[in-house]
Subunit: 561 residues, 2 copies
C-alpha cells in the first residue's frame, strides 16, 4: 500500500510555545509534508497589547512545494485561528477537515476576505482514507467540547502515528455510543509499531473527566428550580452544551436568547450543518426578551472568563442594554476559569452576588466538565490503544512529564516515552523512534492589530517599562548661537505622577535640565547632543528615583533654533 | 464590669477592598475606638507599577484622640504591613500583639527608621485582659500558618464580639492540643448575645483543611527518599513549617540553608523569641553548601509563586550564585498558588522539570495545607461557638455569601447572618445587630515607591493605555512669523512599532503633521494651538489605526520660535 523507503518520518511540533505542539505539528516523510492544525495562542500577562501569537513556520519556507495537505482536528481557535496568516504564506495548500470545522474555518477566512482562496476537502465519513504523498491517512471520532472533532492516523512505512488532537472520554454520552479507542489498537496489523501522540492537559488531575450527561443533569435541575430568569455563561465554542441548553428550554417551554457575536454564529452554523436540530421559535432575539415573562427566559451569554466587553461583564456592570440583574435571576457559570483569569472572575462573581443573583459555578456545583482527559482517562486510553511509543503533547512541559509518569504507573516502559519541545525533531524509522539533538529554531510570532511579527522584544519591553512607571518627555529648545536653553523646557508626562500636584518637582526638573544643557552646550565649540541627552536621562532619572522611587522612561528632546 | 450606656457599637471594615475588612477593622463605642489590624493588599493585574494598597482611614482623621489601641492578630503583611503608613498618621496609638507579631512589626518599622516611635504592649498570656476605654478585651489562641496568632473578644455592654482573624482548625497538631473553640461559647454568661466575625476564604472548598501533621509526614517521606539535594520552596511567612523542616533535617542528619531575606529574618526572629529550638549548626550559610555532599543538604527558599527576583526563580533561570539544578535534585513546592500567579508558576515548573529535577507540588501530592478553614471547619466552628450573629469577613463578597449558605445549611438562622462591605456600618446595641444604610467612603490608596495615595485613576489608566499600544510624541517647531512648520517634525515613539522598520509610516506621518499645522496656522491671524493639537491627535490617531489597528497614546508638542 505504502512504498517501503529508506526515509525517515520527522515529527516536528511547531506551535504553542508552552503547550507543546498545540497549534501546529509538521509530519515530514521524504518530499512529503502533512501539517496538523494551524491555531493561535493567547498572550501571557507580560505581553501587553498583543492580540495573539501564531506558530513560527520558518522551517516550511523553502519546503512549500512539499506540503501535501493541512489537516484540522477541530474548530477551536487554538487549532484553526492562525489559518488566515499561514495558509497564504504557504501558497494555499489543500485543507482537510470535518464539516463543522470547515464551516468555522470558512467563516474565519471570510471575515478577512480570504474565503475565495480556500481549497478544502470535507471528511464526510470516518471510512474515508486519504493518500497525501506517501502518507496514508485515516480518521476517527474524538469526544471534545466541540462537535465533529477528528483524531488522525498517519500510516507510514515505519508504523502508524496516532494523534488524538484534544480529547476526552465520554463514557456516558448525552446521545450516541460511549467513547472507545480500542479499534486503534487493531490498526497495526503489519507488525509495525504505533506511536501515540496524546494531549495531556489533565495529567495531574485525578479521576475521569465529568460526563457531559451529569453536567447537563445539574444544569437541568437548576433550570427547573429557578424562580425567574436564567443566565448561562459559557464559552462561545461550547457548541454542544449550548445546543443541549436549547433542548432543555424546549422541554420546559422556555425561550433562549443567545448573546455574544461568536456564540450566535457558532450555533447558526451548527444548525445549518445539521448538528443541532430545534424549533426556530425557541430562539428569540435578545432585544425582545422584555416581551416574555422572566421565568420563560434563558439567556446564554459569553463572558464567563470576565472578558471586558463580553455579554456577562456588561450585564454585571449595568452596561447591558436589555438585561439588568434582578434578585430572582439565576446565573450559571458553565465553564472553568482559564489560568490567569482567576481574579477577574472572582470580581465578576462578587458583582453578581452583590446584585442579589443566585449564582452557580464550578466551585459549588458540577456545572461544567472540561473537554480534556484526566489521569484515569489517560490510563484507559493507553490500555485501549496499546501503542509502542508514547508522545505526550499539547500541554506545558511539566504536564507532559506528569503524563509520562501516569503511563509508567501502569507499566508503560519508560524508555518508550518521549517528551518533545516546540522545534524538537522526532524521528521514526525502521529502527524505531528517537529525538534528534538539534532543534528547529522557533520563536514567538506576535500579532498586534495588522502587524504580524513586527513586535519584537524591544517594543514589548518598552511597553512593560511604560506600564510600570509611565514616561516623561522633556523638550528643550536651545539657541544655536549661545548654546543656552530658550525659555522653560516643555514637559509631557503620563503614568508617572499626577502633574498638577507635583508643581515643585516639575519646577526643579526644569531647572536641572537647563543647568545640564547650559553647562554642556553653553561653553561654545562643538556640542555633543547625544551626550547631553544621556546626561538628562541619567541625572533626571536619578533625581526622580530619589524623590519618588519610581523609574519612568525619560525621553529628552533637544531642538536647536 | 463594663458600664451600661445608651451607646451603640459600630463595626466598620475599612481595609482590603475585595477581601472585606481583611486589612483593618474599626470598632467604635461612644468616644472609644479600637482598631484590629493594619495590613496591606497586593495590587491587581490592572494596576501596573503599584507596590501595594493600604486601607483608606479618612474616617479616623478627626477621631484620632479616641483611638484606645491597635490590636494586631498575627504577623502576616496583610495584617501588619500598613503600619509604617498608618500609625504615624494616627499619632502613634498603642499597639497590642503577641510576641512574634510584635517582633515582626518592629522589624518592619525599623526598616523605615520608625522603630523608635512605637508604643507597644506584648500580650504575654491568654489570661490577660485589656481595658481599652469602655472595651474589655480578651484573647484566645488561633491556629494559622504563622505562630502566635491571636483571636480577639471585645466585650461590650451589648454583647461579645468574637473575631478570629485568619484561622483554621488543627485537629491533629504537630505538637500541643487540637484546636477547640468551645470555650468561646461560654463567654456569654451575662445573657448578652455574641457576634462572630469569621474569616471565610475557604467557604467553597469541601471538607476540613489538611492537617499540618499530614503535610509534614509527606514532606518527611520525600526527604527520606530523595537521592540528592532537596529544595523546598514556600512562603517566607510559613515560619512554623520551615521550623519543622529544620527539625526533620536534624533527625536525618542533614543541613539546612535558608535562602531569601525575609525567610532568614523570620526564622531568626522565631528562634530569638523561643518559638523554634534547634541546634545552631543545623543551619548553614547558602554560600557554603558546596562543602557538603548534596544528599546532606536541604535548601529552603522563597519564590514558590514565581516571584521574579526570589530565590527559586533565580535557581530555575540559572542566575543563582550557589545553586544550579541537577538531575538528582528534588524540588518541593510547599505552598498554594495565589490567584493571578498561575501561569507564572506553570512556567517555573516547566523550567524545573526541563532541567531534570524531581518536582513535587500540591497538584500531585499533599505537600501544603493552607492557613484557612474549609466548609467542614466553618460548620464545626459555628457549632462550637454558638454565636447569635454571624458576620463572614476577610474574603471576596461571593465567598462571604457562600459562608452564609454554609451556616444556613446547618440550621443557622438566615436573618442573623450579615454580609458587610468595606465602609459598611454595622451597629450592635441592646436591640441587636443591624447594618446602617449609609456607608463610610472608602477608596483604593495606592503606594508606589515613596508616593502614598498620589496615584489616582488617571495615572493608572494612562499606564494601561501606554502598556497596550505604546506612545508617540510628535514635536513640531513652528515659525511664529509664517505659521509654517520649520524642518521636519521630531518623532519619539516607544512600545508602538519598531521604528527602523517603519520608515514609510514615519515619513507619511511627518507629512500629515506639516499639512495639519500649515493649514490651521499658516493662514495668519490668531492661532488656536489647542485646536491644532487636537487635530494632530485625531487625524494621526485615525491614520495609525487604519494602518496598524493600534491606538498608541499620541502626544503632540508644538513649539513656536
Amino acid at each position: 500500500m505504502v512504498k517501503q523507503t529508506k526515509q525517515v518520518l520527522k515529527i516536528i511540533p511547531l506551535g504553542g510555545q508552552e503547550e507543546v505542539g498545540r497549534n501546529l505539528t509538521v509530519f515530514e516523510l521524504g518530499q512529503d509534508i502533512v501539517i496538523l492544525d494551524m491555531g493561535l495562542q493567547f498572550p501571557e500577562e507580560d505581553m501587553p497589547g498583543i492580540d495573539y501569537i501564531i506558530p513560527d513556520i520558518r522551517y516550511l519556507d523553502d519546503k512549500k512545494r512539499n506540503i501535501r495537505g493541512v489537516i484540522l482536528s477541530h474548530g477551536h481557535l487554538d487549532h484553526i485561528g492562525a489559518v488566515p496568516h499561514l495558509l497564504p504564506r504557504l501558497g494555499w495548500p489543500h485543507v482537510f477537515a470535518s464539516k463543522l470545522t470547515l464551516f468555522l474555518l470558512k467563516r474565519r477566512l471570510e471575515e478577512v476576505n480570504l474565503g475565495k482562496y480556500l481549497k478544502a476537502h470535507e471528511i464526510k465519513s470516518l471510512d474515508e482514507e486519504l493518500k497525501l504523498g506517501s502518507f496514508n491517512i485515516k480518521f476517527f471520532k474524538v469526544a471534545h467540547s466541540i462537535m465533529d472533532a477528528l483524531g488522525v492516523v498517519l500510516q507510514t512505512p515505519f508504523g502508524n502515528v496516532i494523534h488524538l488532537g484534544d480529547w476526552r472520554y465520554d463514557l456516558d454520552p448525552v446521545k450516541g455510543k460511549p467513547t472507545d479507542f480500542k479499534h486503534l489498537a487493531g490498526l497495526n496489523t503489519n507488525k509495525k509499531p504505533s506511536l501515540l501522540m496524546m494531549e495531556s492537559l489533565g495529567s495531574t488531575k485525578e479521576g475521569h473527566q465529568l460526563s457531559e450527561s451529569e453536567v447537563l443533569m445539574n444544569i437541568k435541575n437548576i433550570i427547573r428550580e429557578a424562580p425567574g430568569r436564567i443566565i448561562v455563561a459559557t464559552f462561545a465554542s461550547m457548541v454542544e452544551r449550548v445546543g443541549q441548553i436549547v433542548f432543555i428550554a424546549e422541554e420546559f417551554g422556555k425561550k433562549v436568547a443567545l448573546d455574544g457575536y461568536s456564540m450566535k454564529l457558532n450555533i447558526e452554523i451548527a444548525k445549518k450543518v445539521g448538528y443541532l436540530k430545534f424549533r426556530q421559535d425557541v430562539l428569540i432575539d435578545i432585544k425582545n426578551i422584555q416581551n416574555y415573562p422572566s421565568n420563560k427566559v434563558i439567556v446564554v451569554a459569553t463572558g464567563a472568563q470576565g472578558e471586558d466587553r463580553a455579554a456577562l461583564m456588561r450585564i454585571a456592570s449595568g452596561e447591558h442594554r436589555q438585561i439588568k440583574i434582578e434578585k430572582s435571576d439565576t446565573v450559571i457559570f458553565s465553564s472553568s476559569v482559564i489560568p490567569g483569569n482567576e481574579r477577574t472572575v472572582q470580581r465578576l462573581k462578587d458583582t453578581l452576588y452583590r446584585q442579589g443573583a443566585n449564582v452557580f459555578h464550578k466551585e459549588i456545583m458540577d456545572v461544567h466538565g472540561g473537554g480534556h482527559a484526566l489521569i484515569e482517562d489517560i490510563k484507559l486510553l493507553i490500555r485501549q490503544v496499546k501503542p509502542k511509543y508514547l508522545l505526550p503533547v499539547y500541554a506545558n512541559h511539566y504536564l507532559l512529564r506528569e503524563a509520562g509518569k501516569v503511563a509508567e504507573s501502569i507499566g508503560f516502559p519508560k524508555e518508550n516515552i518521549f517528551i518533545l519541545d516546540n522545534g524538537s525533531l522526532g524521528l521514526l524509522d525502521k529502527k524505531g523512534f528517537r529525538v534528534e539533538n538539534k532543534k528547529v529554531p522557533v520563536q514567538y510570532v506576535f500579532v498586534d492589530g495588522l502587524g504580524v511579527g513586527d513586535i519584537g522584544n524591544v517594543v514589548l519591553r518598552d511597553r512593560q517599562v511604560l506600564a510600570k512607571d509611565g514616561m516623561f518627555v522633556i523638550v528643550a529648545v536651545v539657541d544655536r548661537q549661545t548654546g543656552k536653553v530658550k525659555g522653560s523646557p516643555d514637559i509631557i508626562s503620563r503614568g508617572f505622577i499626577y502633574l498638577r500636584e507635583s508643581k515643585d518637582l516639575l519646577h526643579q526638573t526644569r531647572k536641572k535640565v537647563i543647568e545640564i544643557v547650559d553647562r554642556a552646550a553653553g561653553s561654545g565649540g562643538a556640542v555633543n547632543w547625544s551626550y547631553i541627552k544621556d546626561e538628562i536621562r541619567n541625572k533626571i532619572g536619578a533625581f526622580f528615583y530619589a524623590k519618588t522611587q519610581r523609574r519612568p522612561m525619560i525621553l529628552p528632546v533637544v531642538i536647536e533654533v
